[in-house]
């Protein structure tokens, strides 16, 4: 079972030591991605999605972040125990990440070609090839073509500020593609773009991972996009996974009260009126509620919900939910 998993996070706890005190952000995250699987990760802003995926690559800023417990297995190896050298190798050739805001993720004072070139150089080094300037150039052109950029030569000589938002997004995808042989993490790609371009970007991303057989973790607010792109979806709330299921199952039969509320909150073109929001707000991580962190906002909350966090219950084929409502089944 484990050998098939490319990512296997077990009971991960991460705190942030900030000025006001200690925020307990990740609260026992369990998260698995199989080889070649396309996984979506959804949840409200600030629920710890980005923290979870950043910890896979061990690129959380530490301090202020601190791993309090748990294991992160990447292709069977514990990331938290990896040597610096192995980490570098892993980042250069196995996993890479598309950051939330492509404008911030591109260095403003270096040419696009230069930035992609460096990634190619170290990727090839990790694969054991010493590669010439001409080859780097060639490969840069190639990867830019892959993300459907017209006129790659001109583009390579541009600075990020000279490009449109959509182009910057494609460039950051191109950068990630270079070193993402086995796993690509996409943190809300295209969120800052307008809807049509966002759609194009997501389609492109879907096609690229399909062709290469790469696993992908797609974080998104756009539930519709997630629906069309991924095989399996994890729903996250306030630092832990509350539900995981195959995409169709989840959308047709959401079980966790939070998931249900989340789906209800999405405005529908066909529906009438303004959708219901979820009453209350994400808890303060400085003093989160005990037990299930959703209990203050949950209409089904029982005393046991306030005492202990519910474990994952298996309900049906690969459908897991962390809620006592399903404990009896």
């Amino acid at each position: 079972m484990m050998s098939e998993m490319i990512v296997d996070i077990r009971d991960l706890y991460v705190n942030f030591n900030i000025y006001e005190g200690v925020t307990r952000v990740l609260n026992g995250v369990n998260f698995r991605v199989a080889k070649g699987e396309k996984v979506g990760l959804i949840g409200e802003a600030g629920c710890g999605k980005t923290t979870t995926v950043k910890s896979i690559m061990k690129i959380l800023q530490m301090p202020p972040a601190e791993v309090m417990g748990g294991e992160i297995y990447l292709e069977g190896l514990d990331v938290l125990k990896m040597s610096q050298r192995d980490l570098q190798m892993m980042r250069r050739k196995t996993v890479s990440m598309i950051f939330q805001d492509p404008t911030a993720a591109l260095n403003p004072v270096f040419k696009v070609g230069d930035q992609i070139g460096d990634i190619i150089k170290y990727n090839q080094l990790a694969l054991g090839n010493k590669i010439s300037k001409e080859e780097i150039h060639e490969k840069t052109v190639q990867v830019l073509k892959e993300v459907q950029m017209p006129d790659p030569e001109r583009l390579m000589n541009s600075y990020p500020i000279q490009l449109s938002g959509g182009m910057r997004q494609r460039i950051s995808i191109a950068m990630a593609l270079v070193s993402a042989t086995n796993l690509l993490i996409a943190d809300e790609p295209g969120t800052n773009l307008d809807v049509t371009i966002q759609d194009q970007v997501l389609r492109l991303l879907g096609d690229l991972v399909e062709d290469r057989g790469t696993s992908i973790i797609l974080i998104s607010h756009a539930l519709g996009a997630v629906k069309g792109l991924v095989d399996r979806v994890y729903v996250m709330y306030a630092g832990s996974m509350v539900e995981a299921a195959n995409t169709e199952d989840l959308f047709s039969d959401p079980l966790h009260p939070y998931t249900k509320a989340l789906f209800k909150a999405v405005p529908k073109l066909t529906g009438g009126g303004i959708p219901m929001g979820i009453p209350g707000r994400i808890p303060n991580y400085l003093s989160p509620p005990t037990g299930c962190r959703f209990n203050p906002r949950c209409s089904h909350a029982k005393p046991e919900c306030r005492e202990n966090a519910p474990p994952f219950y298996q309900v049906g084929d690969g459908h897991e939910v962390a809620c006592y409502l399903y404990g009896g089944q």
Binding site: I59, S96, F99, A104, A105, Y122, Q162, M175
Partner: protein, 341 residues
């Protein structure tokens, strides 16, 4: 293409500003209480000689007529005659400028490079012991006026430790290299005289550091602040996530954006050093424009004062344009702005 337009625009506006400066400094110089001609000739000179000099300098005419005379002469390359040296101010400036130029450029290069090294190392390892040492030292450094550092360094490094000479550009007995550029470091190399180069270099250390001590500390702080700010940018984390070595990240992806604020204030630094050179050159008996200007000011040599101030204005304007272009070259965001408007 538009860069040329930008430079042209800057040159033209500098020209108008310098014109304004000449009006300001010229009229101030003619408001001096006392008679410059009498001051120049001394109290013993006969009245007719003083009158003759007054007429010769057009001092007996209204200020605006004097200004017209002055401007017409400026366009002929004539800044008038120094009342003290009795030579053309232009010739004097031409003679004294290289020494100051050499000192200022030396000290600005010294301070900028030191500041970058200090700022980057302390910013990269923020809150380490080294960082705290640099921070406290730079706080103190900012508060040291040039003349204070000059006096202290002469005492400590000149007299107590005897590391560096404290007067002039060369030790007595050392023959000046053949004048090519007027910059001793350059001329001595051209002449192939390394001993002279070394001597000239040693002579520059104390006045050079005095000129920039406070700005060096200021720049180190600015560099540190921008390193700390950029260290947490997404693009640094992204570079790390692609497995780019930490060395390359620091020396390439972190260094360049962090340098921009430091480079951008280099124009101000050069200006500040020019201002400081008046005092520092006087203390170290450095035969440059600053000492010349200072003695002109102390002896009410109005033509020389106006000439020196104008020259510094011109130099300052050019340096600012140059530094802005360098900054734009380093930072494509600024370049885009220039191209846009």
């Amino acid at each position: 293409m538009n860069i040329k337009k930008y430079v042209a625009y800057r040159l033209i506006s500098s020209f108008f500003v310098l014109f304004g400066l000449s009006l300001l400094i010229f009229s101030l110089s003619r408001l001096v209480p006392g008679d410059p001609a009498r001051l120049a000739l001394g109290p013993m000179a006969p009245q007719w000689a003083v009158d003759k000099l007054r007429a010769q300098l057009h001092l007996d005419e209204p200020v605006y007529i004097q200004y017209i005379y002055w401007v017409t002469n400026v366009f002929r390359g004539d800044l008038g005659q120094s009342l003290v040296t009795r030579r053309g101010v232009f010739n004097d400036i031409f003679e004294f400028f290289p020494a100051t130029f050499e000192l200022v450029i030396f000290s600005v290069i010294l301070s900028t490079s030191l500041a970058i090294i200090l700022g980057v190392t302390s910013g990269k390892y923020a809150n380490s012991l080294w960082d705290n040492i640099v921070r406290v030292t730079s706080y103190v450094g900012i508060a040291i006026p040039s003349f204070v550092w000059a006096i202290m360094s002469v005492f400590i490094f000149g007299y107590l430790l005897r590391w560096f000479p404290t007067l002039g550009r060369l030790s007595s007995g050392v023959v000046m290299p053949t004048k090519v550029t007027g910059l001793l470091l350059v001329d001595s190399l051209i002449a192939g005289r390394l001993g002279v180069f070394r001597d000239a270099f040693y002579h520059m250390i104390l006045p050079g550091t005095s000129l920039v001590i406070s700005r060096l500390a200021q720049e180190a702080r600015i560099t540190r602040a921008s390193v700390v700010e950029n260290l947490h940018k997404d693009y640094i984390m992204a570079a790390r996530s692609f497995g780019i070595p930490e060395r390359t990240i620091t020396l390439k992806y972190l260094l360049k954006p962090s340098l921009i604020p430091t480079v951008a204030i280099m124009g101000m630094d050069i200006a500040g050093s020019m201002g400081g050179s008046f005092i520092v050159e006087t203390i170290f008996n450095w035969p440059g424009l600053g000492r010349y200007g200072m003695s002109a000011m102390l002896s009410n040599d109005i033509n020389a004062i106006v000439g020196v101030v104008m020259l510094i204005g011109v130099f300052f304007a050019f340096m600012n344009i140059l530094v802005d272009l360098i900054t734009a070259y380093l930072d494509p965001r600024i370049m885009m702005k220039l191209r846009g408007g």
